[in-house]
Point group: C2
């Protein structure tokens, strides 16, 4: 990293999409400050995966912020009383975490302002977006507008740019791009209910989208599944 290298904050979940985004940001020449959240998700294997990915893809720094979204509740991903479904459902699923991307982008914005970064990368995707409203292009555009009203840097200096390079890509296209950029998807964990060794269930929405992506991309799937997988 040189003094002149532009900085970016990259939201990193440990999954396939955000790993690809980190590789894209690095490829575009940014010094990448990766940001993950310990938000009461079911397993910390996601956080272990995000740390492996951050190191493998040369992030300058990887910060994990604690955030007690579980005490707000309302999602199968943070509330142990709600089961993760094994079948696809219509509409917005129970794995939706209320306002999650708004919260994550807000904290990324605060950190970007402190770092002097003006670019924030997020791996949202409107194609395979699983019915989450905060993955749509109009959400990202509106957040960028908000960021430039909300902050000292947005008001006094050049504005923030929220970069969502995957937003219009299929899962197969994302996988092809990541492989071209050297992403090892074996390091990533996408499953909503992975076991404590990071092995996937193979049944949840996230597993199904991921497996379908590798199949459509014609690429061997490096995902490790646990024994219940059929």
């Amino acid at each position: 990293m040189t003094d002149k290298q532009k900085k970016a904050v990259v939201l990193l979940s440990g999954g396939l999409d955000s790993a690809t985004v980190l590789a894209i940001a690095r490829d575009r020449g940014y010094a990448c400050h990766a940001l993950s959240f310990d938000y009461g998700q079911r397993h910390d294997v996601e956080l272990q995966a995000s740390d492996r990915v951050a190191h493998a893809l040369g992030a300058v720094e990887h910060k994990v912020l604690s955030l007690d979204l579980g005490s707000i509740g309302g999602s199968a991903l943070t509330d142990m009383a709600i089961d993760v479904p094994n079948e696809s459902t219509e509409g917005i699923p129970v794995t939706y975490v209320p306002a999650r991307n708004t919260v994550f982008l807000s904290l990324a914005l605060g950190w970007a302002e402190v770092l002097g970064a003006r670019d924030i990368f997020i791996g949202v995707n409107a194609v395979d977006y699983s019915g989450y409203p905060d993955c749509r292009p109009e959400f990202i555009e509106t957040f960028e507008h908000l960021a430039n009203l909300a902050t000292k840097a947005g008001v006094e200096d050049s504005g923030f740019c929220i970069q969502a390079p995957l937003i219009h890509m299929s899962k197969a296209e994302i996988i092809h791009m990541g492989i071209d950029l050297g992403v090892d998807y074996g390091l990533t964990v996408s499953c909503y209910q992975a076991d404590d060794q990071g092995r996937a269930c193979g049944h949840c929405d996230s597993c199904r989208l991921r497996a379908q992506g590798f199949a459509e991309a014609g690429v061997p799937d490096p995902t490790r599944y646990h024994s219940q997988h059929s």
Copy 2:
């Protein structure tokens, strides 16, 4: 509280403005769910004050969420290496916490969605706003727009309303309204560097605005100052 009573989430800091907002929300008939943050501020006297205020003003519930803004840094309010200034300065002050209101409103939005509340009250003020960009009307309007794009409830159900009833009021007007609504300002702490008994410094921006407000309102100032106050 009856089943038909509308719920609101009210952001509560322990200071004068948010106490007044809680009184206004109660006066408008809402069942108030107060939300405060333990975000690495210099003293937890703010949190003790917010708890006293929540109880005194009949909040249904008072939730304190932990949020490690200190690890992001960049503000005199969360970073012990930056002094709180005793003189007013031009522009956006060092007490500005990057993206604070964006982060707080995002978490309030998530909780409101889980509760089934559609109104979120915040005590921002554009008159005495101390140069914080995230206290301006256009910020609040844009956040409301974002809230209705970002959430399941905003997309599938009636939208969210971000209520900022103090935004165009002077500090003296706020104090008059609060007194009319039964707020005991002796319970509140506004000082950026209160001592561990909640006594104010009398010198920081927040103390000066508060003292001036009581003077202009022609109301006795119930603030307790510590011994260094002159």
